[in-house]
């Protein structure tokens, strides 16, 4: 089934409202899931489940939220808690639907959460359903 970008945003907004208990006017394209919308780790799974239902697609968790897979690998994360070049390359490969330009300036893994925005989820869904 094909969805327009507006329809995707509408459905994603509904998912965020239901999963995170936020108001629909808080769900803007630039809103970060953790910082702005208060998502915790289990909420990411909840979001994945609801997106699968809303768009009738299958999503592996690491496909949409690949951070967990990177965090514990010393090859990918340096002692300074920043992604190594190899880690950054892997993140780029795994998150093609997210603009990483700003993050690459200071790839602190504690800021990974800020990468997950409503906009990046809309981009991801768009890449899957169109």
């Amino acid at each position: 089934m094909a969805f327009s970008r507006d329809e995707i945003l509408e459905q994603v907004t509904e998912v965020m409202v239901d999963a995170l208990g936020v108001d629909d006017d808080e769900v803007t394209l630039g809103a970060t899931l953790m910082g702005d919308l208060g998502a915790e780790s289990i909420d990411f799974l909840d979001v994945v489940f609801r997106l699968e239902k809303a768009f009738d697609i299958k999503i592996a968790r690491e496909e949409l939220f690949p951070a967990d897979a990177l965090m514990n690998d010393p090859d990918l994360v340096g002692d300074d808690q920043k992604l190594t070049d190899k880690g950054m390359a892997m993140l780029k490969e795994k998150m093609p639907h997210t603009d990483l330009t700003d993050f690459a300036q200071n790839p602190d893994i504690n800021k990974l959460g800020d990468l997950f925005t409503v906009g990046s989820i809309v981009n991801f869904v768009e890449s899957r359903v169109s």
């Binding site: 239901d18 780790s41 289990i42 909420d43 799974l45 909840d46 489940f49 968790r61 967990d68 965090m71």
Partner: protein, 163 residues
């Protein structure tokens, strides 16, 4: 000792849905204080009862190999009080089950009347929280108390097997 808030399962369809009952009794001491002269089953305990009904359903779907832990209450809405002498029925349905977690929806009724809607998420903890180690034994399902709640279902399964 486990704090069990359901009495037994009356229906159990592996991986799909399950129903349990809970008979509320004035012998439960907390009802004397909740509230004096107006005993009602605490809503938090109804959530726990649903978590046990849904959690056992989710655990059985993976043959009790995962440590199933309540992770999120998506919805808990209550429509009436439950009083001593009431028998409530808890119907739970698995909506999604994935390697890391599961989502359930549930309804509590009393003689067909809707008492509550409770939707939950469970984490399979070994598949999450990378780097944190949990005890090897399955502390969630290891004792037989939970399984005793399934006695009717297990007996039926055994007799089906024998026939």
């Amino acid at each position: 000792m486990r704090w069990i808030w359901i009495d037994k399962f009356v229906d159990f369809q592996s991986g799909k849905c399950a129903s349990s009952i809970k008979n509320v009794s004035m012998a439960e001491e907390h009802l004397h204080d909740h509230f004096p002269g107006f005993p009602v089953m605490p809503e938090a305990l109804m959530i726990e009862a649903m978590a046990q009904t849904s959690g056992i359903l989710v655990g059985e779907a993976r043959d009790f190999k995962e440590k199933v832990v309540l992770a999120k209450i998506n919805k808990a809405e209550f429509f009436d009080f439950v009083r001593p002498g009431d028998s409530i029925r808890l119907d739970a349905v698995i909506e999604t089950v994935a390697p890391e977690a599961a989502g359930t929806t549930g309804k509590i009724t009393r003689e067909g009347e809707l008492i509550a809607e409770i939707n939950l998420m469970f984490s399979h903890v070994d598949q999450n929280l990378a780097g944190i180690e949990f005890p090897k034994d399955n502390f969630v399902f290891d004792d037989n108390t939970f399984k005793s709640l399934l006695r009717d279902f297990l007996a039926q399964k055994q007799s089906d097997h024998a026939n």
